[in-house]
């Protein structure tokens, strides 16, 4: 077990040797964080078959993160409203750098690298007003913060780079959080979530706003198809008796398509989608609903296909064989393909919210 002191001491360790790649970390296809049975936390490299390629202890519960496109470096963000992120050398298990959000701000828990891997983009939130920002950190300068711009909304959550280019998609969830725990929602009556497309310089290219009756639907997580169709997952914050669509599909320049599930199944989503992913073959898109213990699958036009049950499921990613990989808080790692969930492994640890794709997820 790594002590806090030992962990901080490793801050002094040198960055990964420049020639290392993900192959040196066992060629993981995903990163995922988990809570261990002893109460500790760790970051894992996972293959699409559910094997662990590395395990690195973390000092606290993480949320999501970002993997460098080439180098075996992972950025893990503290759970919201955390002000720190760690850049981890996944070969040696050491901390390369510790990032601190600018004064008065916290990280949302998500970030993304530029296509060339030189810049890290982080979603940042003004801790008082909830106004969103995107932070730019230059890898070659030891991850110095080199700039930032407004995210185009309140409470940005996930930030994603479109495949093959430096266009950022930002889920501005619309919620101002505060209070003693920093997680009390303060503006549910007036929230206005949006999905913003921006250049790496902060120029707004396109924006999706929800119709007035759906403004209680916080846009929080995003996935991009290799052809740049974007899927966004939502969490409903208004009257629980209403069951709005929790998935949207969008292409820049057009109106979003909101994807509902049949009335008889809608309650099983519990009005809360935790993650979203396209399938490996690109033909389907799925949202995970940890509160409802279910996975809702749609085709690319947004038509509902099926709803599958799995308790506390949240992490989901696309795998090369065509389907999805899922992780859950019970420790399960499952393959979802041909409409069936098939267990790949059961671990005695609780997988945290997200699976971060390293290959194929965003083809750089």
């Amino acid at each position: 077990m790594t002590t806090r002191r030992g962990f901080l001491a490793s801050l002094a360790a040198a960055a990964a040797a420049p020639s290392l790649t993900w192959a040196d970390a066992g060629s993981p296809e995903f990163l995922a964080a988990a809570k261990e049975p002893d109460g500790g936390f760790a970051l894992f490299g996972l293959t699409a078959r559910g094997q662990v390629t590395f395990r690195i202890p973390l000092p606290a519960r993480g949320h999501a993160g970002a993997g460098h496109p080439v180098r075996p470096e992972a950025v893990t963000f503290a759970r919201r409203p955390g002000t720190h992120a760690l850049v981890i050398d996944c070969v040696h298990g050491t901390v390369i750098q510790r990032l601190t959000a600018p004064g008065g701000h916290h990280f949302s828990g998500h970030g993304a690298f530029s296509a060339d891997g030189r810049t890290l983009f982080t979603a940042e939130i003004d801790s008082v007003t909830g106004l969103g920002g995107v932070g730019l950190w230059r890898r070659s300068d030891g991850y110095d913060r080199v700039g930032g711009f407004a995210s185009g909304g309140i409470g940005p959550h996930e930030l994603l780079r479109l495949p093959g280019r430096d266009i950022l998609v930002i889920a501005n969830g619309g919620i101002v959080e505060g209070g003693g725990d920093g997680r009390t929602k303060l503006n549910l009556d007036t929230m206005r979530p949006n999905l913003s497309y921006m250049t790496a310089d902060g120029e707004l290219l396109d924006r999706v706003d929800l119709p007035p009756e759906l403004r209680g639907n916080s846009i929080r997580h995003i996935a991009a198809h290799p052809d740049r169709q974007v899927a966004f997952a939502m969490q409903w914050e208004h009257d629980r008796a209403i069951r709005p669509p929790l998935l949207g599909l969008h292409r820049p320049g057009s109106a979003p398509r909101l994807c509902a599930v049949p009335d008889a199944l809608a309650p099983r989503l519990a009005n809360y989608a935790g993650s979203v992913s396209f399938s490996g073959d690109g033909a389907q898109v799925a949202i995970t609903c940890p509160k409802g213990g279910s996975i809702a699958i749609f085709d690319r036009s947004g038509a509902f296909i099926d709803l599958l049950a799995r308790a506390d499921v949240c992490g989901i990613g696309r795998i090369g064989s065509g389907g999805f990989l899922t992780t859950d808080g019970l420790g399960g790692l499952m393959e979802l393909s041909s409409g069936r969930l098939r267990p790949l492994a059961a671990f005695d640890r609780a997988w945290d919210n997200h699976l971060i794709g390293l290959r194929g997820a965003t083809t750089a």
């Binding site: 969490q235 008796a241 209403i242 009335d263 935790g274 308790a311 808080g329 399960g332 609780a350 919210n353």
Partner: protein, 327 residues
């Protein structure tokens, strides 16, 4: 010390498989059998006499039986949206009366097909649609079509109840019992079966607190008595009591450990619910009546807290890692 802790954990965790069996044998299977039996009785009554006077007692018995299992939100009841077809509530947008009005207005003959009712919108099916037909004046004089609709909906409900009961007996009980077996692709470890039952217990308590009690409470400035569950039939309070009794029964079966906090919390919540004296929860319209309902709601939430503190650790489970945390 650590070894001792592991040993103790094993001691308390070991009988849990027996507890899963106990819940299945003494809570789940009898619960669904009772629901299936009463729903069949309701169907048979409707065949003989589709008048409200004859049907109301049978409908109430069926609703009572449903409350014995309505918290079991996993397994066959979730297949094909059956739970929603049985109990479409809350119905914020009034979809049920709208769907029934349309059916009756059109004299839609789809219900003459034995499978026809299963094709209807879920809003037009199940216990709550039947409540409108039996208790709402708008639907009192629906004539021969109303009678045919009553027969179709009660037959549909009986079929749903029988399917759920059959599916548990013929397969799902085994799936839950054999959690962690190599061929079990639903429950990957023995702990997952306990987790499923524990989650049903905690979410059942949340549903009663937040929905059955919380919806009619609305806000202090704007209470919403007509949002109470089955207020038309005046059984909103009864639903709260019966759901708490069912959840208390599940809690008892779920662990062998002594659970004094849980027992006391359930006893208090059930006692308060029984003494409410407000069958349709209409009292929420007045500040004093609303306060009384709020006291029950707090007691139900206290029962949930006790369950999390006392039963969770004894089973080696907790509220979901992701579902409880949010993103």
């Amino acid at each position: 010390m650590k070894r001792l802790a592991i040993f103790l954990a094993m001691l308390t965790a070991a009988p849990a498989a027996a507890q899963v069996d106990a819940v299945i044998d003494d809570h789940i299977l009898p619960g669904y059998a009772a629901f299936s039996e009463t729903a069949a009785g309701l169907r048979d009554t409707a065949v003989r006499d589709c008048g409200s006077d004859a049907l109301r007692p049978a409908w109430n018995e069926t609703f009572d039986a449903w409350l014995g299992v309505s918290h079991l939100t996993f397994g066959p009841v979730e297949q094909d949206g059956r739970s929603v077809a049985v109990a479409f509530w809350p119905d914020e947008r009034g979809a049920t009366p709208r769907a029934l009005t349309a059916l009756i207005g059109d004299q839609d003959r789809i219900i003459d097909d034995p499978q026809g009712a299963a094709e209807l919108s879920v809003a037009a099916r199940g216990l709550h649609a039947l409540e409108y037909l039996l208790y709402d004046d708008r639907f009192a004089g629906s004539g021969a079509y109303g009678c045919a609709l009553m027969r179709a909906l009660t037959a549909d409900l009986a079929a749903l109840a029988e399917q759920i009961d059959d599916a548990w007996r013929s397969g799902y009980a085994r799936t839950l019992r054999t959690a962690g077996a190599p061929d079990n692709t639903v429950y990957l470890g023995e702990r997952e079966a306990r987790q499923a039952l524990f989650t049903a217990l905690t979410t059942g308590l949340e549903f009663t607190a937040d929905q059955r009690l919380g919806r009619p409470m609305g806000t202090f400035e704007r209470p919403r008595p007509t949002r109470a569950e089955s207020w038309r039939s005046g059984r909103s309070q009864r639903n709260v009591i019966l759901s708490l009794q069912a959840l208390s029964g599940l809690a008892r079966e779920l662990t062998d450990a002594a659970t004094p906090q849980t027992d006391a919390a359930f006893a208090r919540a059930i006692g308060l619910a029984e003494r409410l004296g407000d069958p349709a929860l209409a009292g929420v319209a007045e500040p004093s009546g609303r306060l009384r309902v709020e006291v029950v709601q707090q007691a139900v939430r206290a029962a949930r807290d006790a369950v999390l503190e006392e039963i969770g650790p004894s089973l080696g489970v907790s509220a979901g890692f992701n579902s409880a945390d949010g993103d």
